[in-house]
């Protein structure tokens, strides 16, 4: 029987605020454990939460970027459960009145546009971080807890069950990350845990309207892992169903080493979190003007930028995609384009040599000055330098930020041209390579490239190739 795969994602995103959701402690990553803490985020007896206005702004901005319906009235609730990383034994979250509802995100899968609905977006607080001297809290000799992270504002985004493969899930997450990064709400660093994803996955007979029993998959630490874990689950559930079995509802975690999902112990059945309205906070009431201001200050989003790049610079879809996903690279392109009108040539250099050099030398896009690229391309176009020299100059510009123009004049890297300069070299190469010269004389045009290359080698690639072609031709036709 053919099965349809139904996936819903739950994404947690740390917001890019300076301070925590309910206190003024720093959100900085990587500090000495339990130093970014105070009575409020440690949940000490008697302490009370106070809203971080910035977190609300960033949440609304993110929700707007995801085309969501911002709720003017929302409310905070307590989600009660016991765990050592949860200082108050409840998490302040939003239950039945979330900050935003009914959003969507468009993604492109195999050149088809798909719209994935977002059921809700809400704001909550992050828990602390546990470290076990062992595999889990059950096996460990002891466990340590760091509350630096506790209380960092967290945005939860829940999709509708409208994703149909691991690949689609990965593409969705990549697009989501790009949008949220553009919105300025989060740095979306999965490796620092600022973006995390859990998935619900079930299978049902194709054409059926009823959802099958789902499994919840956790602990996927990269988009690649999400895709692999979901593909694994599809195969596992398919095998169970094909053998006439029944998929049991369970929570499992993705084992990156073994590349398989493993059911979690002791988490059977759903917990009763005893949600109730948080009495220490007033309901969140957003004024229309507050939301309008954020709408007005919403930055350009990836989708808009892509369309604009295609139209304004005549880029093809792949180029526009690359220069959007890699926002910094797009910024370099756009700054350079103001001073350099051959956009076709520019985009080739940006997505080719420049991107290669940046990666090669581990440089960030924002470290590179687009003016250097413009300088380089203008010299190349004017015939002042050759292509190989240009590539070398770009490497220097990326590594050390040195001006190509300056380097050319200092080190004499300009093009060598003129018969008086080139003819002696042409003659030297012909005399040193008689076989190649003969081949050319006999009509083998390919030999010319070899001979030109020899002169290039002697000049460090600086000789004018067009003039060399002419000189060799003249010399060997005689």
């Amino acid at each position: 029987m053919k099965h349809e795969v139904i996936i819903g994602l739950e994404i947690h995103l740390e917001l890019l605020t300076q301070s925590k959701l309910f206190c003024s402690c720093s959100t900085a990553f990587g500090r000495e454990p339990n130093t970014n803490c105070c009575p409020v985020c440690l949940g000490l007896p008697g302490s009370l939460p106070v809203f971080n206005r910035r977190a609300v702004e960033l949440s609304v901005t993110a929700a707007l970027a995801l085309n969501s319906n911002i709720q003017k009235q929302s409310r905070f609730d307590r989600k009660n459960y016991f765990y050592p990383d949860l200082p108050k034994a409840y998490q302040v979250s939003q239950y039945d009145r979330p900050l935003a509802k009914a959003g969507y995100l468009e993604i492109e899968v195999d050149e088809n546009m798909r719209t994935i609905s977002l059921e809700r977006i809400h704001l909550e607080e992050e828990a602390g971080k546990l470290m076990h001297a062992g595999d889990s809290i059950r096996d460990a000799d002891y466990s340590l807890v760091d509350y630096n992270r506790a209380g960092i504002p967290l945005l939860e985004i829940v999709t509708a069950p409208e994703i149909h493969s691991g690949r689609e899930a990965r593409i969705f997450l990549e697009e989501l990350r790009t949008v949220l990064f553009y919105s300025g709400a989060s740095d979306c660093k999965m490796e620092e845990g600022s973006l995390r994803c859990d998935a619900n996955i079930s299978l049902r007979p194709a054409g059926s309207a009823q959802l099958g029993t789902k499994a919840e998959v956790k602990n996927m630490n990269s988009f690649r892992a999400v895709e692999m874990a979901l593909d694994y689950e599809v195969k596992r559930q398919e095998a169970v169903l094909s053998a006439g079995g029944i998929v049991t509802q369970e929570t499992c975690h993705w084992d990156e080493g073994q590349k398989r999902t493993i059911p979690m112990r002791g988490k059977e059945g759903s917990s009763d979190y005893r949600y109730f309205p948080e009495p220490d906070l007033l309901p969140l009431s957003l004024e229309a003007s507050f939301i309008e201001n954020l709408v007005d200050s919403l930055p350009e989003l990836p989708q808009q930028r892509r369309s604009r790049f295609k139209e304004q610079y005549q880029l093809d879809p792949n180029e526009a995609f690359l220069l959007t996903v890699n926002r910094g690279l797009g910024d370099i392109f756009e700054k350079a384009a103001r001073h350099y009108s051959d956009h076709r040539n520019l985009v080739n250099w940006v997505q080719g040599d420049l991107l290669y050099q940046l990666r090669e030398h581990g440089r960030k896009t924002e470290e590179f000055d687009s003016k250097l690229l413009v300088e380089l391309l203008l010299m190349l176009d004017d015939g002042k330098i050759n292509r190989p020299v240009a590539k070398e100059l770009l490497s220097k510009a990326v590594q050390k930020g040195v001006s190509p123009q300056k380097l050319v004049s200092e080190r004499g890297l300009g093009r060598i041209s003129g018969q008086e300069n080139l003819l002696p070299l042409v003659e030297q190469v012909i005399s040193e390579n008689p076989e190649a010269a003969d081949s050319y004389r006999q009509g083998k045009k390919k030999a010319l490239g070899f001979l030109v290359g020899k002169v290039m080698a002697l000049t460090g690639g600086r000789a004018d190739p067009a003039e060399l072609n002419r000189l060799f031709d003249e010399k060997l036709q005689q």
């Binding site: 009575p39 440690l42 949940g43 000490l44 007896p45 008697g46 302490s47 009370l48 939460p49 106070v50 809203f51 307590r78 009660n80 016991f82 050592p84 200082p87 108050k88 034994a89 409840y90 809290i137 059950r138 466990s143 807890v145 009763d272 005893r274 949600y275 109730f276 009495p279 220490d280 906070l281 007033l282």
Partner: protein, 493 residues
């Protein structure tokens, strides 16, 4: 007249005129504590050194001609569920027996800034859950008027300390009557301010939507002085009311002419001592004779107040007390695994009443029961608020007894939680409505015990309450008496 017999306002005047020093004043109360507290057990922690240090500092500043707050140098006792930096704050629980907070509650900060020497931390029912202070994990407090009786609760330690002259002022907290009921059982004045009027930051939460800190004092003037210090908007408490506070002390003109007063009709008379209700009627007559209009009113939904309260407060408590798990601070029993550590810590660290309320609250919030219990109780609460809004359209004040009976015997109600819960029946609906409510002495029972009157006003009208209280102090006999404790004073001086 001994120093400890003075009101705070009286002491403030003596200090201002430099007739006495703050060290003298503090010494007088400390001597009193030394003699009486071994019998009364009003304090969990005594802080004589800290109190004398503050007194010395205030005396020096006064000698240097500094402008000081009216209550500077007047000592105070603080209920032991209000956080004091560097000083044990136990909530009268094994769970927090050794807990020392790293920060001051906002109100404590205000006391320290104004220079009030803190005499100690007073006993209470564990986590403020109770009406007799018998639920303290350490020891019960005795009623200064009759040592075989309870002082009421949960602020029983604060009420007993003020009543017996061990402190001129005390801070208490009131969730469902925990200031007003012990005030009336001990014959002192106890004010529950409007919800949000006094910051809750640093008050260890029992039921967040109901908890309020307030003063226990001898008389309205002292309450006004203390309110001037502790009330006001606090950016650290999101439920704190914005806006500027009135000067409470400056508005105590004792005049009741043309006041419209609603006397709460007693739909249930069972359990009410006729002398208690008699005293309320006597006071009504005095008020009428002085130009007030008194009329019977009824707030129909308040009949469901006790039931709603005993769902809402335990629900919030079940969540608020989750944090006592042995991981970060407080009692930790250890265990083979995390679940065992949690359950042993909580099983051993909490007393029976606290556990009972956590279980009631956990049940009321559970899936499948939430709508029938918590949500239903919240609806009742909304309707009770509406009752109050309606009645305050026609009345300035409400009056009734502040406790159905005078102080009961120690042990009398400990086996019957419902009887114990009923002793707050007069106080609970004001708490649910969030309105200010004041307990003042209403005279003495034939058995010699003090009785109390409760006055209730619409939100933010504490001044009106204090004004009427001041009027009664001047115009109604049976006020301002202190218990006779000569036997325990050891005969000397």
């Amino acid at each position: 007249m001994k120093l400890y017999e003075h009101s705070a306002a009286g002491l403030s005047q003596l200090l201002k005129n430099k007739e006495v020093s703050s060290v003298d004043v503090v010494q007088s109360f400390m001597d009193r504590i030394e003699r009486l507290d071994p019998h009364l057990k009003a304090f969990i922690t005594h802080t004589p050194v800290m109190a004398l240090d503050t007194a010395t500092e205030i005396d020096n500043r006064r000698m240097n001609g500094e402008e000081l707050q009216p209550l500077a140098g007047v000592p105070i006792a603080v209920k032991d569920n209000i956080c004091t930096e560097g000083l044990h704050t136990t909530c009268a629980s094994r769970m927090l027996e050794n807990y020392v907070p790293p920060y001051d509650a906002t109100v404590v900060g205000a006391l320290r800034k104004a220079g009030l020497p803190i005499l100690g931390k007073t006993n209470l029912d564990e986590f403020a859950m109770g009406s007799s202070t018998e639920n303290s994990a350490f020891f019960p407090t005795r009623n200064p008027w009759d040592f075989s009786r309870v002082p009421g609760g949960s602020s029983g330690g604060s009420a007993a300390a003020v009543s017996s002259g061990m402190a001129p002022l005390a801070l208490g907290s009131d969730t469902g009557g925990s200031i007003r009921q012990p005030a009336s059982l001990c014959g002192v004045t106890g004010l529950r301010p409007t919800y949000g009027r006094v910051s809750r930051y640093g008050l260890i939460a029992f039921a967040s939507s109901l908890d309020q800190i307030g003063p226990l004092t001898h008389g309205a003037l002292d309450s006004a002085l203390l309110m001037d210090l502790i009330s006001g908007y606090d950016p650290l408490d999101s439920t704190s009311l914005p806006g500027k506070d009135p000067n409470f002390k400056a508005s105590l003109d004792p005049d009741v002419k043309n006041l419209r007063i609603g006397m709460i009709r007693q739909d249930v008379t069972e359990g009410f001592d006729p002398e208690v209700t008699g005293a309320v009627h006597k006071i009504a007559a005095v008020l009428e004779n002085n130009g007030a209009m008194v009329e019977e009113v009824s707030l129909p939904m308040t009949n469901y107040g006790l039931e709603a309260y005993y769902l809402i407060a335990p629900s919030e408590a079940s969540s608020n007390l989750g944090r006592y798990d042995g991981v970060r601070y407080g009692y930790c029993a250890g265990g083979e695994n995390i679940e065992e550590m949690f359950s042993r810590t909580r099983g051993e660290g909490f007393g029976p009443e606290v556990k009972r309320r956590i279980m009631i609250g956990t049940y009321a919030l559970s899936a499948g029961y939430y709508d029938a219990y918590y949500l239903q109780a919240m609806k009742v609460r909304t309707m009770i608020r509406r009752d109050y809004e309606t009645v305050f359209k026609n009345f300035d004040l409400l009056m009734g007894p502040s406790s159905p009976t005078p102080a009961f015997k120690i042990g009398e109600k400990t086996d019957d939680p419902v009887q114990m819960y009923l002793s707050d029946v007069c106080n609970i609906t004001d708490s649910l409505a969030g309105v200010p409510s004041l307990a003042v002495p209403s005279g003495f029972h034939s058995g010699g015990l003090p009785m109390g009157l409760q006055l209730t006003a619409s939100p933010l009208q504490e001044r009106l309450l204090l004004k009427v209280a001041r009027f009664l102090e001047l115009n109604y006999e049976g006020q301002q008496k202190r218990p006779d404790l000569k036997f325990f004073e050891g005969g000397a001086s």
